[in-house]
Amino acid sequence: MFSRILVKLVDEAIVPAIILLVVRVVAVVVVGRYFGMAIEIGATGFVYPDDASFLLVNSYSTLAMVCVIAVGLFYVLLKSKFFHNTHIHPSVTARLFTMRLSSVIQTSFDIYSQGVVWLSYSFLLMFASGLMLYFGLIYNWIFYVSLVLSVVSTYLLIIDIEKEMHVENGDVVSESAEVVLTWEEEGID
């Protein structure tokens, strides 16, 4: 009844959403305390003493979120490069099984659904930071960092998917070639 891809994406999006939300809140508190600002918690959220404080805390907490997304994307790309079940090296497989870490080896479905979720967060944060930059609510370099992260990680993920599908060699066409099975009758004279 449910789409398998949608269920997987929802499943993979829960943990990053919680992590990013927690990082945002913790970063606001930590940055506020580090710079000695009197940030209060009101009915509508955090209450900043002035515009400059908001700009500073908003910028650095966004940077913390960008860093977390970068770590998430790096982890997915690492798994895709070294622990993908389609091309993992036999010695690495043996070593992982010896260390009882066989769960690290993942399928394309797992890896790419995680990649799509982290990439979505990266692009959403980029658009949000772009919007905040337009209204002067964030330092401009935070937006540029977010932009570079989104572009580079998209490129790396596309390259990885291409390698996985052997698109660069044109093997995709050959893989989809028709195979005709013939029925040979035996024992009939």
Binding site: M1, V7, A13, A17, T44, Y48, P49, L124
Partner: protein
């Protein structure tokens, strides 16, 4: 029909999850001008530089008092 509605629900859940961290940017408020005006600067008479309206001055003075 049920199949499509179920998937639409899943998509809404996914969208909510994706927008949840970005939505945290809305949890911010900067203290209003009233609090700034009710500081020592206002008591020293700089309120006349902020606005020319006598009504607004009266409001701020009422708040201070």
């Amino acid at each position: 029909m049920k199949h499509h509605l179920a998937n639409l629900g899943l998509m809404l859940i996914l969208l909510t999850l994706l927008l949840l961290p970005v939505g945290s940017f809305g949890l911010a408020e900067i203290k209003g001008n009233i609090e700034v005006l009710s500081s020592e600067d206002v008591r020293e008479g700089s309120i006349t530089d902020v606005g020319e309206s006598t009504e607004s001055t009266e409001v701020v003075e009422t708040i201070i008092n």
